[in-house]
C-alpha cells in the first residue's frame, strides 16, 4: 500500500517527503471525534494511575475499607453526596464522612472503588492485549511468510478457536483454575490472539509478494531480517486499528468474567464485580447509582475506544479522499 501511494504521487513526495504514517496522524488530528475520544482515554489512564489513590487520600477512604456507618439499619447504603450516619450520637469528624458517589452494599466508597476499577480494567485489558499481540504477530508472520503446512496449521487453529462461544470456555477454564488477576490476563489472551494472527498473516502473505521483499532477498537478507525489518512494519496500520478494538473487547471480557464471579477476586474493585454485586443482590433497584456508576464507566471507556478505533481506521485508509 505504502509503495503504491508513493509511486502515485511522485511530485508531492519529492517536495514534501510525507509518509503515510504522518499523513494518517495529520488526518487523525483533524478529526474532532477522534481527538475527543483520545482525550477521554488519556483522562481515563490518568484516573487509573493517580485518580484512585488521590480520591482515596482526599476522601480518606481506602478502596477496600468498609464503613458500617455508611449503611442504614435496613442495610441501604448512603447515596450521592451523603455523609456517614452518626454512631451513638457521636458526630463524626467531617473529614472522611462525605461519600461523593455514595457507598456500596458493604459500605465502601463507590467513587474510590470505581477509580480503582479503572486501574484493574486497563491493567488486565492491556496486559492481555499485549500477550495476544505477541502470540498473534509471531504466528501470523510465520504463517504468512512460510506458507505451506505452517500456514495450514495456524489457519485450522484460528478457525477452530473462532468457532466456539469464547466466554463460555473462558468461564469454564476460569472455574477450574480459580480466580486471580494473572489467570484472568492469561485466559483473555488465550481467547484473543487469533484476531491479530489472522490480520498479520494476510498482510504478510500479501506483502511478501512485493518487489522490495524480493530485492531484500537478492541482497542476501536472511529470513529473520526480512520478517522483522521488511514485513513487520507493513502490518502496523491494520494492527493498530485492531489493537484498539481488542483492548475494548478485553475490557468487556474482564468485566464479564468478574461479573460472573470468576474474574478478578474480591475485594479488589473491578467494574464487572461492582455491577454484579449491585445486580445479583437486586440492591440497584433501591439504589440505582450502584449499577449506574460502574456501568457508565464501562460504557464511556468502550465508546472512547470504539470511536478512536473508527477514527484510526479512517485515517489509515489510503483510499480516503478527504484530507
Amino acid at each position: 500500500m505504502t509503495l503504491e501511494m508513493q509511486v502515485l504521487e511522485p511530485e508531492v513526495a519529492a517536495e514534501h517527503p510525507v509518509g503515510l504514517r504522518t499523513q494518517a496522524f495529520r488526518r487523525l488530528r483533524r478529526d474532532p471525534v477522534s481527538v475527543f475520544a483520545f482525550s477521554v482515554l488519556v483522562f481515563l489512564v490518568m484516573a487509573a494511575i493517580v485518580g484512585g489513590p488521590l480520591a482515596a487520600h482526599l476522601t480518606g477512604h481506602p478502596p477496600n475499607a468498609t464503613y458500617a456507618n455508611a449503611l442504614a439499619s435496613d442495610g441501604q447504603p448512603i447515596g450521592i453526596m451523603q455523609r456517614l450516619y452518626e454512631a451513638n450520637g457521636v458526630t463524626h469528624n467531617p473529614h472522611g464522612s462525605l461519600f461523593i458517589l455514595g457507598a456500596d452494599s458493604l459500605g465502601r466508597d463507590l467513587l474510590v472503588r470505581v477509580l480503582y476499577g479503572a486501574r484493574i480494567s486497563l491493567l488486565v485489558a492491556t496486559g492481555a492485549t499485549a500477550i495476544a499481540l505477541i502470540i498473534g504477530i509471531s504466528l501470523g508472520l510465520l504463517a504468512g511468510y512460510l506458507g505451506g503446512w505452517v500456514d495450514g496449521v495456524v489457519n485450522r487453529l484460528t478457525e477452530t478457536a473462532m468457532a466456539f462461544p469464547n466466554l463460555l470456555l473462558a468461564v469454564g477454564i476460569a472455574v477450574v483454575v480459580g480466580p486471580g488477576i494473572l489467570n484472568v490476563v492469561i485466559i483473555i489472551a488465550l481467547f484473543t490472539w487469533y484476531y491479530p494472527a489472522r490480520i498479520v498473516r494476510s498482510a504478510t502473505a500479501a506483502t511478501k509478494q512485493m518487489t522490495f521483499v524480493a530485492a531484500a532477498r537478492t541482497m542476501g537478507a536472511r529470513p529473520r531480517r526480512i520478517l522483522l525489518v521488511h514485513l513487520l512494519p507493513q502490518v502496523w496500520g491494520p494492527l493498530l486499528v485492531y489493537a484498539t478494538s481488542i483492548i475494548a473487547n478485553n475490557i468487556l471480557f474482564e468485566a464479564s468474567l468478574s461479573y460472573l464471579g470468576v474474574g478478578v477476586p474480591e475485594p479488589t474493585a473491578s467494574w464487572g464485580s461492582m455491577l454484579s454485586d449491585a445486580v445479583t443482590s437486586s440492591m440497584y433497584t433501591v439504589d440505582l447509582p450502584l449499577a449506574l456508576v460502574p456501568g457508565l464507566a464501562l460504557v464511556i471507556t468502550m465508546l472512547s475506544f470504539n470511536l478512536l478505533g473508527d477514527g484510526l481506521r479512517d485515517a489509515l485508509d489510503p483510499k480516503a479522499t478527504r484530507r
Binding site: 468457532a163 466456539f164 472455574v175 468485566a255 464479564s256
Partner: protein
C-alpha cells in the same frame, strides 16, 4: 460441490471432537487436581475413604485417562451427559428444556436485530454522510459500547421494575402496581405462545441491541459496496426504482454474506444469554451454566459447554452450506 460439502462436514466433526477433548480434559482431568474429585463430590463430604474409592471404581476413575475419555465420548454419543452433582437429575434432562428456552431467546433476538439494522444500515449505505447516516452510525457505535450485562438490568429496571412503582422512565404517571412487562419468568412456547412472546420481549430487545449496532455497520458497508458496482448502475439506468434496486439487486447480493455473519454471531449470542437469562430468570443454557458454575457442578458445566459448541458448529456449518446455495458464484468456484 459435493467435495466442498464433505470437506465442510469433516471440518465440523473435527471441531466437535476438539471441543469434547477440551471439555473433558478441563472438567474431568484438571478439575480433579484443583477441586474435589467427581467421586468425592458424588459420595458426599461425610463419605469414608472406602466409599469414595468404591464410587471412583464405579465411575471408572481408576482406568487410564484414554479409556476414561472414550467412555465419556461413548456416553455423549448416546446423549448421556452424566449426572448432576447438585440437582438430583440426569444432565441431559436439564439441558433439553434449557436449549429450547435459549433457542427462543437467540432466534427471536436475531429477528429483532435484523429488523432494526436492515433499514438503518441500508439507508446509511444509500445516502452516506446524510443526517440519517450520521445518526445511524452514532447509534451503532453507542450500541456497540453498551455491555449486555449492564443493559439487561437497566432495561429490567426501567421497563419492568419502575412501572410497578408507578413510574415510567422516572416519571410518576402510571398507577402504582402496573405490570408493563413481566420482570422475570418464562413460559414455554408450547404452553402459551402469547405469554411466551410477552415474557421474552424485554430479553429479546436486550440481547438484540448490541447485535443491531454491529449489523447496522455490516449492512451499511455491504450496501455501499454493492451500490458502487456496475450492475446497480445498469439497473438504475434501466429505470429501476431505488426500492427495487435495494430489495432485488443489492439485497440478493448481500444475503449470502449476511447469512454467514448470522451463523457466526449465533455463537457470539450464546455468550450474551448468560447475562440476559440470569437477569430475566429465563431457565436457558446461560442460566443453567451460571448456577452450575456457582455450585461447581462440573457435569452440567460440561454439558452446557458441549451443547453450546454443538449449536455454534451446526450454525456455522449450515450457514456455510447455505452460502453455496445462495451464491451461485461459489458453486462454480467449488466445481472447478
Amino acid at each position: 460441490m459435493r467435495r466442498m460439502i464433505l470437506r465442510r462436514l469433516m471440518g465440523a466433526v473435527i471441531q466437535l471432537f476438539v471441543v469434547t477433548i477440551a471439555a473433558w480434559f478441563l472438567f474431568y482431568v484438571i478439575a480433579r487436581f484443583t477441586g474435589a474429585s467427581p467421586a468425592q463430590r458424588i459420595a458426599g463430604k461425610t463419605a469414608s475413604a472406602a466409599q469414595i474409592a468404591l464410587v471412583a471404581k464405579l465411575l471408572g476413575l481408576n482406568k487410564p485417562y484414554w479409556q476414561q475419555y472414550l467412555i465419556f465420548l461413548g456416553h455423549l454419543v448416546h446423549g448421556n451427559f452424566g449426572y448432576s452433582y447438585f440437582q438430583d437429575r440426569a444432565v441431559s434432562s436439564i439441558l433439553w428444556p434449557a436449549t429450547r428456552a435459549t433457542a427462543s431467546l437467540v432466534l427471536g433476538a436475531a429477528v429483532i436485530w435484523l429488523a432494526i439494522a436492515a433499514p438503518i444500515g441500508a439507508y446509511g449505505g444509500l445516502r452516506p454522510r446524510s443526517i440519517g447516516d450520521v445518526v445511524g452510525r452514532g447509534l451503532a457505535i453507542f450500541g456497540m459500547s453498551i455491555p449486555v450485562f449492564w443493559l439487561a438490568p437497566m432495561i429490567s429496571y426501567f421497563f419492568a421494575f419502575q412501572p410497578t412503582q408507578g413510574r415510567i422512565l422516572g416519571l410518576p404517571i402510571l398507577p402504582h402496581g402496573t405490570t408493563l412487562f413481566p420482570i422475570t419468568g418464562y413460559v414455554d412456547f408450547g404452553q402459551n405462545p402469547i405469554e411466551w412472546a410477552y415474557h421474552l420481549i424485554l430479553p429479546w430487545i436486550t440481547l438484540a441491541i448490541g447485535f443491531a449496532a454491529v449489523y447496522i455497520r455490516y449492512i451499511r458497508t455491504l450496501t455501499a459496496e454493492q451500490l458502487s458496482e456496475d450492475y446497480t448502475r445498469t439497473a438504475k439506468a434501466k429505470g429501476a426504482s431505488t426500492r427495487r434496486i435495494l430489495l432485488h439487486h443489492v439485497g440478493r447480493n448481500v444475503a449470502p454474506t449476511m447469512t454467514v455473519l448470522l451463523g457466526a454471531d449465533v455463537a457470539t449470542a450464546l455468550s450474551g444469554v448468560f447475562f440476559v437469562e440470569t437477569v430475566f430468570s429465563i431457565p436457558g443454557l446461560g442460566w443453567t451454566g451460571v448456577y452450575a458454575i456457582e455450585n461447581l457442578d462440573y457435569p452440567v458445566i460440561t454439558g452446557v459447554v458441549i451443547v453450546c459448541a454443538i449449536i455454534a458448529v451446526l450454525a456455522n456449518t449450515i450457514v456455510d452450506l447455505l452460502h453455496g446455495v445462495l451464491d451461485p458464484r461459489l458453486r462454480r468456484v467449488a466445481a472447478r
